[in-house]
């Protein structure tokens, strides 16, 4: 999800005067766009990642216009003429960001508001679809300040005045001293002998890519002609993006023309603007959604979503507008037809099947154990599966074996570094928050703990219960242990063991087939003190 903020006055100017705010707010969620908030001057929206075209106020207005039947589908063609601008791609480009596409937009009418929206749109695209400029980045230039020939490649160094800076800087300085440098520098790495991707003209550097443009070719509200470059690691993505931008600029009234991209081994003109067609039988659309639509209605639903459509031989031929980068297959078109039809109007239809449902045996067993525990006077607790070495081992006075447990990488929370290997520390954590409540306190948990077995993670259910009670003794917990062992039917024997968390001589292991499957006993006062617990505690933990 990406948040956008659209100026209301500009938006309503684009949609058409007759739309009012209340009606618009009703339509927007039905288009699949979430309204995050409304201020006096702006509309805040959340755009799903499949629709980069809606990050654009022009694209959003276009969709609202067709969704509310103000406009039909438009075709976005470019006259087939030899491009007047050429970008020569040097071999060195291949090492860093091999692909580039570009387009020229002439006779643009910009003002402060529309320019700000356009630049914020291209930035959002580079951030979201472009994966923070690593996969794809967009640069916008004043065409009239550019002197041919244009070259794209990777260079060892160079200098220019970066956008918004007063002084000339070397590429390295621009990386170090500008905000953009520190934010996006990661995309080209920072090794000692690095190469800098750059777009240059006869006068010098237009842009250090994908970091920052030059001040020289800066776009202002009085700019009439623009050159837009899109660079990235995927040829497919940069081409499709040039088409998306072309649609937006055409909708703003600009004249868009192609740019020739001359790679060392081939030459193409972008944007290609080829229209894609998808044919779907009407019956399949109706069967997927579960409604009867009829071919006349389907054609108007198609227009509502911006598709051109025609009907023949019981099939609908959809023309997919070039700005819809998300349409992969017919299923995507079917979704649009469902949205156009309106989820609210789809009547629910039951799924028939005569077979009964069933719970997992594990669920039934856990339930039986839990009911037994409640019967024995224990209340259930539910804790996070995640913990830290300090709690899981340290406070419990036991040592961790390096590779015996699951460790997390890059956790955002300091006290969450691993998956718990047993439940007891969680329960003692619960009791440590309850020292001011009346005694006795009896709690239990039936849930997962984790470990490693032969290099693979292991997950299993365990039961743990704790009695905090000044009047309790070892026998109380032993009685509980024996009851549960009987209830589950574990074939086992009880033997004295040593365990760092428990008082020596007051801890027993539950041994089944030579494996210690559980243990119970009196917790060591040092452990209790680590958890700031003030009453004696007796605990049982058992793999179930």
């Amino acid at each position: 999800m990406a948040g956008v903020s659209f100026g209301k006055r500009y938006l309503f100017r684009l949609i058409g005067k007759k739309e009012n705010e209340r009606r618009l707010l009703e339509h927007v969620p039905k288009m699949g766009v979430e309204v995050k908030g409304i201020t006096k001057d702006t509309l805040e929206l959340d755009i799903t990642p499949n629709r980069p075209d809606l990050l654009d106020i022009v694209g959003f207005a276009r969709s609202v216009r067709s969704f509310t039947h103000r406009a039909g589908a438009r075709s976005y063609g470019i006259k087939d003429r030899e491009p007047q601008v050429e970008i020569k791609v040097e071999k060195s480009a291949g090492k860093m960001r091999p692909f580039i596409s570009a387009l020229v937009a002439k006779r643009i009418k910009l003002d402060d508001v529309s320019l700000a929206h356009f630049l914020s749109f291209t930035d959002k695209l580079s951030d979201t679809y472009g994966r923070r400029r690593s996969k794809l980045a967009i640069g916008v230039h004043n065409l009239d300040k550019i002197v041919s020939p244009l070259t794209y490649g990777s260079f060892e160094g160079g200098s220019f005045v970066p956008l918004g800076q007063g002084d000339k800087m070397s590429y390295s300085e621009a990386m170090e001293r500008t905000k953009q440098g520190s934010e996006y520098g990661y995309t080209i790495g920072n090794g000692k002998r690095r190469l800098f991707p750059a777009l240059k003209d006869a006068e010098g550097t237009l842009a250090l890519i994908p970091i920052i443009n030059s001040e020289r070719t800066k776009v202002t509200p009085s700019t009439a002609n623009m050159l837009i470059d899109i660079t990235g690691t995927s040829g497919y993505a940069v081409e499709r993006m040039s088409e998306l931008l072309a649609c937006s600029l055409m909708d703003s009234g600009a004249e868009v023309s192609r740019v020739r991209i001359s790679y060392p081994d081939r030459s193409i003109a972008t944007p290609e603007m080829k229209m894609r067609h998808i044919e779907i039988p009407l019956a399949r659309i109706e069967q997927s959604i579960g409604v009867i639509i009829g071919f006349n209605n389907v054609l108007s639903l198609a227009a509502k979503m911006g598709y051109g459509a025609s009907y023949g031989n019981k099939r609908i031929k959809f023309s997919v507008p070039q700005y819809r980068m998300d349409i992969i297959s017919e299923q995507d078109v079917v979704e649009d037809m469902a949205i156009a039809y309106g989820y609210d109007y789809i009547q629910p239809i039951p799924v028939f099947s005569g077979r009964p449902g069933r719970l997992e045996d594990r669920t039934t067993l856990n339930k039986r154990i839990s009911v037994e525990m409640v019967g024995l006077g224990f209340s259930e607790v539910m804790n996070s599966y995640l913990t830290s070495e300090a709690v899981n081992f340290g406070r419990m006075l036991i040592k961790a074996e390096e590779d015996s447990y699951i460790r997390l990488k890059d956790s955002k929370t300091q006290n969450i570094t691993m998956a718990r290997t047993w439940l007891l520390p969680s329960l003692l954590g619960n009791l440590s928050q309850s020292v001011h409540e009346s005694m006795p306190q009896r709690i239990f948990e039936v849930d997962y703990a984790f470990g490693m077995k032969e290099g693979l993670p292991s997950e299993g259910y365990r039961l743990c219960c704790v009695i905090a009670d000044p009047k309790a003794n070892f026998n109380d917990i032993k009685a509980v242990a024996e009851d549960i062992i009987r209830r589950i039917g574990i074939d086992c024997r009880i033997e004295a063991i040593r365990h760092g968390s428990f008082v020596e001589g007051r801890v027993a292991g539950i041994i089944s087939k030579r494996n210690e499957v559980g243990l119970f006993g009196e917790l060591h006062p040092e452990v209790l003190d680590n958890f700031k617990i003030e009453e004696p505690c007796f605990a049982l933990e058992l793999g179930i």
């Binding site: 579960g290 992969i328 009964p356 539910m382 990488k409 709690i443």
Partner: protein, 479 residues
């Protein structure tokens, strides 16, 4: 007073019985009995008792075998040079075997006597007695006469020690004590067994209690409120004919992302949201056929290189859809007439979030899936409306986007407290690319919903999600 209450039934109890019935701690009970007997309220007898304690060495033998037996077994029919008996336990055995006439020593070699040979494989009386003491089987009656000599030997061998102890027992109430437990004006306070049996209450009046007097709260043990919600959700599924499934929590990214058609450079995979693991760092995807099918669909649709190392990064699952995905990919040999197959799962999912009262690192989600022929969006709406209906929610559906479903649906439920619609989760028709990679010809409906939020919506006493995982005893008692 509690002590008198327990004795009032005219019973004779011993110390431990009173301890159990009254719940007074040991020291207080001693003190109370001392005082009561001084005041002539109770009769107390002092009984001398032997208390046996087993040493570590003794416990060790009780669990394995006596050292002389160990040695005898080793010698067996042959002879052993005395110098070769070096192990600590065998040296001890040598000493006792000789004292008991189990062996003879001559010319520096050891040999079993007749008695020694007969003893092999049998448990000696000493061993039997030691075993009884270790298990605590020696009752108040002490040991049998035939075992007396063996016990003396054990004491001599320092395997067992005997301590003389005076204990208080046979405690009973006196008439004076009886009187003290009724009130001054002859009204009956506590009714006891004797009164009921001999009808001595007839003609007497009962002390009247102040029924308005405050009492301490009773504390019932109970299940966690979230568990109840989970059980309700499972019941709702059962009622609709769904079968429960489960699956791993620790997964390679493959099952959480790749099988669900989430592009390898999708932001949802970022370290920002996902707990990747340091140990283990990678998990191998064993089914190479499934892996090839998945990578084919990815490369066709996303036009990027699909990388095994990205798919095999170990992580904690971020949604329960990985469990449904495994089910779909692993499902084999189903018959046409068995469709639709309805399954559900409930379990924890994990997000690498900065934790606060609204965000937790792990929480519950439920996933559901129907695998069938010709299933429609209208079928999905019907199923979800009914499941939520039986849980007491009104729901509505909004278009939205998830990489693995198309059409995509946001499920919203009405929240009475706030008078607003809240997002409960996502749903949709599974992408054909996924169904194809799984080798199925079917239409598949799927959804994933948060559980905690349902509880928050239904129970106005619970204000934040984090409250559910704090488990303070005080909080639990109020629930």
């Amino acid at each position: 007073m509690a002590v008198l209450g327990a004795l009032k039934a005219g019973r004779t109890l011993d110390f431990d019985e009173i301890l159990r019935e009254t719940g007074i701690n040991k020291d207080s009970l001693f003190w109370a009995l001392e005082n009561l007997s001084k005041e002539g309220m109770v009769n107390v007898e002092r009984i001398n008792k032997d208390e046996m304690e087993i040493s570590d060495e003794g416990r060790d033998y009780a669990e394995s075998e006596m050292p002389e037996m160990l040695l005898a077994r080793r010698i067996g029919k042959g002879k052993i040079e005395i110098g070769k008996i070096s192990e600590q336990r065998e040296r001890i055995g040598l000493q006792w075997a000789k004292a008991k006439g189990l062996i003879t020593i001559g010319n520096g070699t050891v040999e079993l006597t007749q008695k020694g040979r007969e003893g092999i494989g049998k448990e000696s009386v000493e061993k039997i007695v030691l075993g009884k003491i270790a298990r605590g089987d020696i009752g108040a009656a002490g040991i049998e006469r035939s075992e007396k000599e063996a016990l003396e030997n054990l004491v001599k061998r320092k395997l067992v020690s005997i301590r003389k102890k005076t204990i208080i027992g046979n405690i009973s109430i006196t008439d004076a004590g009886m009187k003290a437990s009724t009130t001054a004006n002859g009204e009956i306070d506590r009714v006891n067994r004797k009164m009921i049996m001999d009808r001595s209450w007839v003609g007497k009046s009962f002390k009247k209690y102040d029924v308005k007097v405050g009492v301490e709260e009773a504390q019932a043990a109970k299940m966690h409120p979230l568990r109840e919600t989970i059980n309700n959700v499972k019941d709702a599924y059962l009622g609709m004919g769904f079968t429960e499934i489960s699956g791993p929590i620790v997964e390679p990214s493959f099952w959480v992302h790749d099988t669900l058609f989430i592009p390898q450079d999708h932001p949802a995979r970022d370290v920002q949201d996902t707990f990747y693991l340091e140990n283990p760092e990678r998990m191998t995807v064993r089914n190479r056929d499934i892996m090839r099918a998945v990578s084919r669909e990815h490369e066709r649709a996303w036009r990027d290189e699909w990388r095994t190392d990205v798919a095999e990064r170990a992580m904690l699952r971020t949604h329960m859809t990985s469990v449904s995905a495994r089910f779909l990919y692993d499902l084999k040999d189903y018959k046409e007439y068995e469709l639709p197959i309805k399954i559900f799962s409930v379990g924890r999912v994990f997000r690498n979030e900065s934790i606060d009262y609204r965000h937790l690192a792990d929480f519950y989600q439920t996933d559901g899936m129907i695998i069938g022929n010709g299933l429609t969006l209208a079928n999905l709406f019907d199923t979800l409306t009914k499941i939520f209906g039986s849980l007491g929610f009104g729901v509505r559906f909004m278009p939205t986007y998830f990489p693995f479903v198309e059409p995509g649906v946001e499920v919203q439920a009405y929240y009475k407290e706030k008078k607003e619609w809240l997002e409960l989760g996502g749903a949709g028709v599974l992408r054909n690319e996924i169904v194809k990679a799984a080798g199925k010809k079917a239409s598949v409906l799927a959804w994933g919903l948060g559980i905690e939020r349902m509880l928050l919506m239904k129970d106005s006493r619970i204000k934040t999600i984090s409250e559910l995982y704090n488990n303070g005893v005080g909080w639990s008692r109020k629930m």
